[in-house]
């Protein structure tokens, strides 16, 4: 085997989105050497650059920051009430408190570092994801964070349940890299790539959650998956863009099915109002769209028609001029869509996977069950419970900062351990296997098949039969297809098939834990709707589902909620009625959150 480079650092941050950058910057404050690994281009991968992007905080704190709006009558208590009711009470209330407390400080820091705010409302500031990433990249460089791009981490290395390093792969050259470190912050975001279409970058294949799970960390609430509504389904060049979501959230518009019916007709008017003009739209409208699809009332690409309807063209033009001036966002040119909106011509839109509420189990210090392993941001479980309405962008900063701080403190007075070279050799041989297997399964075909099935069976609406069908499929893949994945040739230089073959087992692992959790949760809540259990069951299901990783199988257990000040309700309530109750429980602060 070729000579492999070993890189030593104190804190290794895995993931080059907002949470990774923020953690790296903070860990550096602890006089540690910090290396942040980005799977794609620096500051242009992960979900953060794709975000709109809104940052939410309590309006009162915002109103004290010069130049920002913010409702002075808002309060931390009101925000807490809103996040917990939006999460249908499954939130880890300690993490909600941390989010609220740290949000104003983290925003001020970002503005000090040069972040420009485009506009703000009662409790949200709007900026761009790329703008945030530029600020973070500049700051990380200025404080001396070491940065590596186009490197995928394949596995964590532990010794006596403590992290000691990781195995990486330079995606461009195909060379392995050994990492030796004292602490690791996992900040790898979601696993969007297991679904199609999705709103995320193509790098989000969930390996961070999967490898933490294999290393001994628990994962939880994997059944809760948020789909963004009203994303473009066609044309291909716009597919996955959230532009129609943004316009419809602010301006409204009309959604019709292939029979010309208004799909919101017949739903409770309050539910429709809050479920279209606030960020409850993700759960409510994605549920509605999925139902239309199951009833066969969708167009060629599986979506609905979105038109301007009765909404004002002037308002749409105004919003577009602020969010994507001249109907352009970076190189995405939506001029033609502007014309179509004005003339009330339809575009096909639908739900696309956007956010994962579940993830790596952490405590309020962002520690996992593995010593020295921390997690922050979307890959971690807790803040948003069963449904996220408040901004995930805020969480990457509040959690990234504290996880980075704690990892830095942990690493500061510790000696690094030796790497187990024989374990590394085994891992490398396993990773190289797809290059040597001949006449096996094509990774690209398997990925496409899995993505289609995920969209169908693990969408906003589920039932037992479909989940069991999908589970059988996944188990079969695990046993009979994954070991046979093979690349066309054995080139290690930018071999896309090899990357697919390395990513797929992680996606299958997370899909299986998600499907098993969705089967176990015999109720409907938040973004998880079971046709065969259509009620929200507060008598039996105010529980998290925790998935433990055994060598060959998963063990699922219920875990009591982490509650600080807000007691959950009791009783059994039909899904949409409970959703409406949660909307009604909102505080008197306005805005989209």
């Amino acid at each position: 085997m070729r000579n492999v480079k070993t890189i030593e650092t104190d804190v290794l941050v895995i993931g080059g989105g907002g949470a990774g950058f923020r953690a790296a910057i903070e860990a550096r404050e602890k006089e540690c050497n910090v290396l942040m690994i980005s799977k794609g281009p620096l500051a242009r991968c992960g979900a953060t650059p794709m975000a709109g992007a809104d940052y939410t905080l309590d309006g009162k704190s915002m109103s004290k920051i010069e130049g920002l709006t913010g409702d002075p009558n808002d309060s931390a208590e009101k925000v807490f009430n809103d996040i917990v009711t939006q999460g249908c009470y499954l939130n880890n209330q300690k993490l909600v408190e941390q989010y609220i407390k740290r949000a104003p400080q983290c925003l001020k820091e970002l503005m000090d570092w040069g972040l420009k705010v485009k506009l703000s409302d009662e409790r949200m500031i709007f900026t761009t994801g790329t703008g945030m990433m530029n600020v973070l990249l500049r700051k990380a460089k200025s404080v001396g964070v070491d940065l590596l791009e186009d490197v995928a981490v394949l596995e964590l290395l532990t010794h006596e349940n403590s992290v000691v390093g990781a195995l990486g792969l330079n995606v461009l050259t195909g060379e392995f890299i050994h990492f030796r470190c004292k602490a690791i912050v996992m900040a790898t975001g979601g696993w969007h790539k297991a679904f199609w279409p999705n709103t995320g970058m193509r790098d989000l294949s969930g390996e961070g959650i999967a490898m933490a799970h294999r290393a001994g960390a628990d994962i939880g609430n994997m059944e809760f998956i948020t789909f963004c509504c009203n994303t473009f389904y066609a044309p291909p060049m716009w597919r996955g863009s959230i532009a129609p979501y943004i316009i419809s959230l602010i301006c409204g518009g009309r959604l019709t099915n292939n029979r010309g019916e208004d799909v919101l007709k017949g739903y409770d008017s309050f539910l429709v109002e809050k479920g279209t003009l606030t960020e409850w739209n993700k759960s409510f409208l994605s549920f509605v769209t999925a139902k239309q699809a199951r009833d066969g009332k969708v167009f060629a690409n599986g979506g609905l028609h979105y038109t301007r309807g009765d909404a004002s063209w002037e308002m749409m033009e105004l919003v577009a001029s602020m969010v994507f001036p001249n109907w352009k966002y970076k190189a995405l040119d939506l001029t033609e869509w502007g014309r179509m909106l004005q003339e009330n011509e339809p575009v096909e839109v639908g739900h696309a996977v956007e956010f994962f509420e579940g993830g790596i189990v952490i405590n309020d210090q962002f520690e996992t069950a593995v010593a020295g392993l921390y997690a922050a941001g979307e890959c971690a479980l807790g803040t948003f419970g069963a449904n996220r309405v408040f901004a995930a962008i805020t969480e990457i900063f509040t959690q990234g900062a504290d996880a980075g701080n704690n990892a830095g403190e942990y690493a500061h007075n510790r000696q690094s351990a030796d790497l187990d070279l024989s374990a590394l050799k085994e891992l490398k041989e396993k990773a190289l296997q797809p290059l040597t297997v001949s006449k096996g399964e094509r990774p690209a075909e398997l990925r496409k098949r899995v993505q289609r099935k995920s969209q169908r069976y693990l969408g906003p609406i589920r039932n037992r039969d479909e989940l069991e069908t999908f589970l059988d499929y996944l188990e079969d893949i695990k046993v009979s297809v994954l070991p046979k994945l093979s690349t066309t040739n054995d080139s290690r230089t930018y071999n896309k098939e090899w990357m697919d073959a390395l990513e797929l087992p992680n996606m299958i692992q997370l899909l299986e834990s998600s499907v098993r959790s969705a089967l176990m949760r015999t109720e409907s809540r938040g973004v998880h709707y079971r046709e065969d259990f259509p009620d929200t069951d507060n008598d039996n299901w105010l529980q998290e589902i925790i998935v433990k990783h055994d060598t060959a199988t998963f063990q699922l257990n219920q875990r009591p909620l982490t509650i600080t000040s807000m007691s959950p309700p009791t009783g059994v309530t039909p899904y949409l009625d409970f959703m409406k109750q949660m909307m009604e429980a909102h505080s008197d602060t306005g805005g989209k959150h």
Binding site: P41, R202, M237, E497
Partner: protein, 110 residues
């Protein structure tokens, strides 16, 4: 998707194996609103798994700019360049090719 197919000519070069670069032509189904990236994805998924183009972390929505290349000789993003007829796709700098449409980065920004 229509029945119509278009020719997509792609610059191929693996310095480890090939004496010199060559062009390979693929027949790709045409659909309205498709981009050069749609065509590359189709080739990779259905016709040729060895084709290298930057997508392990691409965004496909004109934001990350990693898919910059030449389309019929003109610089642009593969993901946001519409394709309507036969096209030729080449890397941004042929002298810096790592493999096919992937070019080496300038010294890593460490």
């Amino acid at each position: 998707m229509t029945d119509e197919k278009i020719k997509v000519n792609v610059f191929r070069y693996d310095p480890a194996v090939d004496q010199e670069p060559y062009y390979q032509t693929y027949n790709v189904p045409w659909e309205p609103g498709m981009s050069a990236m749609t065509a590359l994805d189709y080739i990779y998924n259905h016709l040729d798994g060895t084709l290298a183009y930057y997508d392990h972390a691409g965004c496909d929505l004109g934001i990350c700019s990693q898919c910059t290349g030449k389309i019929n000789g003109k610089s642009g993003l593969f993901c946001q360049t519409a394709v309507k007829e036969e096209i030729t796709l080449e890397p941004r700098k042929k002298e810096r090719v790592l493999k096919d449409l992937i070019t080496q980065r300038a010294e890593s920004s460490k």
